[in-house]
């Protein structure tokens, strides 16, 4: 590496570090919603990726709408689109819980199958509404390009945006679950449903809103993803396995675990990718996860409880 100056190598190191952090924020944002749904409620939502696609398509729809009718608002539409993605995906999640999930709380493996069916229907709906072609919204200029702190360092703006968004959403989830009275009720319900019902918590309502919240966060993740990649009818299924791995590896019921697991998976993957080919990096990362999970099935962070 004699032909490089130290400052160049330093810049690469900085940018590579950011690539890892960027992947971390992406994984975390994907996994947060599922951590709530799977971790707190125990529902295996195979349609989680499709709820992300709902967010992405909402953003695309907003982009086209703004471009056609209110082109002056183009710089700002994206923020509204994120909010709308949350609402639309959350609403759909609410309906799905009402129509489907609530009948299956006692049969976790069956929720897996039913939500797979749901994901097929959602995929076909995307195809019927938006067409088979992959779409991507027109991004506002402030999300494009890179930030250059020095001559040789380029930090992608979209990566920084996703990172910030992830931070906000994570803090929001923490606040909701651990500081608000609603969060207390959610945690109470997930720990002891019957008792919570007995002390006057409307557990059905809690379930429905929790599920909707998880789906809503998936929607935000989908919206954020449009800055990085395109959206197609089957986009959701690309992410579902990674998302589950993050949640399971972290220890299903632990939000801290989810964060730690997203961080370690992202760093492992991005460092490996730098040194070996992309396919093998993926194989090694997943293989390591599976082997670790075989030795520590409860995941990274799970407290030992009295059975």
């Amino acid at each position: 590496m004699g032909e490089y100056t130290y400052s160049e190598l330093g810049s690469i190191l900085a940018m590579q570090g950011f690539a890892g952090i960027s992947l971390f924020s992406v994984l975390l944002l994907m996994a947060l919603g599922l951590a709530i749904i799977f971790g707190q409620m125990g529902v295996i939502n195979m349609a989680h990726g499709e709820f992300m696609a709902v967010g992405a398509y909402t953003t695309y729809f907003m982009s086209s709408l703004t471009e056609s009718y209110l082109p002056t608002l183009m710089p700002y539409y994206f923020l509204i689109a994120i909010l709308l993605s949350f609402l639309v995906a959350g609403l759909l999640g609410y309906l799905a819980e009402f129509a489907l999930i609530r009948h299956l709380y006692k049969r976790p493996l069956d929720t897996l199958l039913a939500t797979w069916g749901l994901s097929l229907i959602m995929q076909q709906s995307f195809r019927s509404i938006f067409g088979a072609r992959e779409v991507s919204p027109t991004l506002p200029d402030w999300l494009m390009g890179s930030y250059q702190p020095t001559e040789t360092i380029d930090i992608p703006l979209n990566g920084m945006f996703v990172l910030a968004l992830t931070a906000v959403v994570t803090l929001g989830v923490f606040y909701l679950l651990f500081k608000s009275s609603w969060g207390l009720r959610v945690r109470a319900t997930t720990q002891n449903r019957i008792m919570s019902g007995a002390v006057g918590i409307n557990t059905k309502k809690i379930d429905r809103y929790t599920f909707a919240l998880g789906c809503g966060i998936a929607g935000i993740a989908g919206a954020a993803f449009t800055t990085i990649a395109s959206t197609g009818p089957t986009t959701g299924s690309l992410y579902i396995v990674d998302t589950f791995m993050v949640v399971v590896f972290g220890g299903a019921a632990s939000l801290f675990g989810t964060i730690a697991s997203a961080f370690s998976i992202a760093q492992a993957q991005s460092i490996l990718e730098f040194f070996i080919s992309g396919s093998m990096a993926k194989v090694y990362t997943l293989l390591a996860l599976v082997i670790i999970l075989m030795f520590k099935p409860e995941g990274l962070f799970a407290s030992k409880v009295r059975r």
């Binding site: 897996l112 749901l118 076909q124 299924s237 993926k282 075989m294 030795f295």
Partner: protein
């Protein structure tokens, strides 16, 4: 004799169901379908192996594997490797830079046959590999997981991840595996043209007999004490453990059996379709196998076969005319089976089938009373 009747056939209703299925696939299909359709049915029936294996593993054992595609794929690839080597004789591959190795290796600058391909020159080894390797792999995975009491959801997700790993590996290591194209252009088995009409008929029947054999084997397992223990474990695992059974051994065993059955299906697939590709290993095929099983009835061996046939027939015919409707239908079917008919077709038959049989019986009775009883009188009248 009573052993065969009770244990292998499952008593009267079991025997009837078995005979009807055997008649359907051995007599009715070959008589009424042309070779093209029959070959399709044969392909579907290879998936039925995986569906039947899921009845054992999931329906009775309560352990859902989202990775049956792994074993289907291993079986299929084993057979494909043997056939590919036969198709890659130095004479057939003379135009390559390295004749005598499979074409895709040559394209990937591989100059000699990798060591793990070597033994697949032997047909005996190949058959043994198909029977043993997937089961051995299942043993490794199963021992690691079940000994540590990983089950239910975690098992499902981990098997799914293993399926993903294997797919990425096969696609990524294309010099050794043929990559995303898979192993194609398989033509002969010991010099015998596997694409000829004759071969197709023979493979179809071999496939059917193997499938029926697998059903009989599964019946034997399920009607033994082992089968009752599986059910007992599914519902009250701790009780079984505290009755002195090493629960994990039972789960590992049934997982290995399920892997073996799926692998046989995979090998038969390769023989009938003439190639193998990673698109049979990953998440989607694995979940589809679960769908076949769930639609047919997760507690019914024979139901799983019908489920497989129905879904695949539906897919072929529907996707020709209404491709859009098909996914909606599939998704809807899946949701409704899970929510309203957890025992699938077999469950519906158990719940409502008696209306049909009763009606048939009534008709028969009516026929007997009306026609047969009147017969003497009629005869008398005719005579008079």
């Amino acid at each position: 004799m009573s052993f065969v009747y009770e244990k292998l056939m499952g008593g009267k209703s079991g025997l009837t169901g078995f005979i009807i299925l055997a008649t359907l696939i051995l007599v009715i299909f070959p008589t009424f379908l042309d070779l093209f359709r029959l070959n399709l049915v044969g392909k579907y029936l290879t998936y039925a192996f995986a569906a039947v294996s899921l009845v054992l593993l999931w329906g009775y054992g309560g352990t859902l594997s989202l990775g049956q595609g792994i074993f289907f794929g291993l079986g299929g690839y084993g057979m494909a490797m043997f056939l590919k080597l036969e198709a890659s004789s130095p004479e057939n591959t003379a135009i390559q830079s390295t004749p005598g190795i499979p074409d895709f290796m040559d394209w990937n600058q591989i100059t000699s046959l990798p060591w793990f391909w070597e033994p697949f020159n032997s047909f005996t080894f190949t058959i043994l590999a198909i029977l043993i390797l997937p089961a051995a792999f299942a043993y490794l995975v199963g021992a690691a997981m079940f000994k540590r009491r990983v089950g239910g959801v975690y098992f499902a997700i981990i098997t799914q991840v293993i399926a993903v790993i294997l797919t990425v590996l096969i696609v990524g290591q294309q010099g050794f595996t043929g990559g995303i194209n898979g192993i194609t252009d398989l033509r002969t088995l010991h010099g015998w043209d596997i694409t000829s009409n004759n071969a197709k008929y023979i493979f179809y029947f071999v496939n059917c007999f193997l499938l029926l054999g697998v059903i009989v084997l599964s019946r034997f397992i399920l009607t033994s004490k082992f089968g009752r223990l599986l059910l007992a474990m599914r519902d009250k695992e701790d009780r079984v453990r505290f009755s002195g059974y090493d629960v994990s051994n039972f789960k590992i065993f049934i997982f290995c059996i399920a892997a073996l059955i799926s692998a046989i299906g995979g090998a038969m697939f390769t023989l009938q379709v003439g190639f193998m590709s990673p698109s049979f290993v990953g998440i989607v095929p694995s979940i589809e196998m679960v769908i076949f099983c769930a639609i047919g009835g997760r507690m019914s061996l024979i139901g799983a076969v019908y489920g497989t046939l129905l879904i695949n027939f539906g897919k072929t015919t529907f996707s020709e005319s209404f491709p859009e409707l098909w996914l909606f239908l599939m998704g809807g079917l899946f949701i409704s089976v899970v929510m309203f008919f957890p025992n699938g077709l077999a469950g519906i038959w158990d719940d409502y089938g008696h209306y049909l049989t009763d009606r048939l019986k009534q008709l028969k009775d009516k026929f007997t009373t009306v026609v047969l009883n009147r017969e003497p009188k009629q005869l008398a009248e005719d005579a008079g």
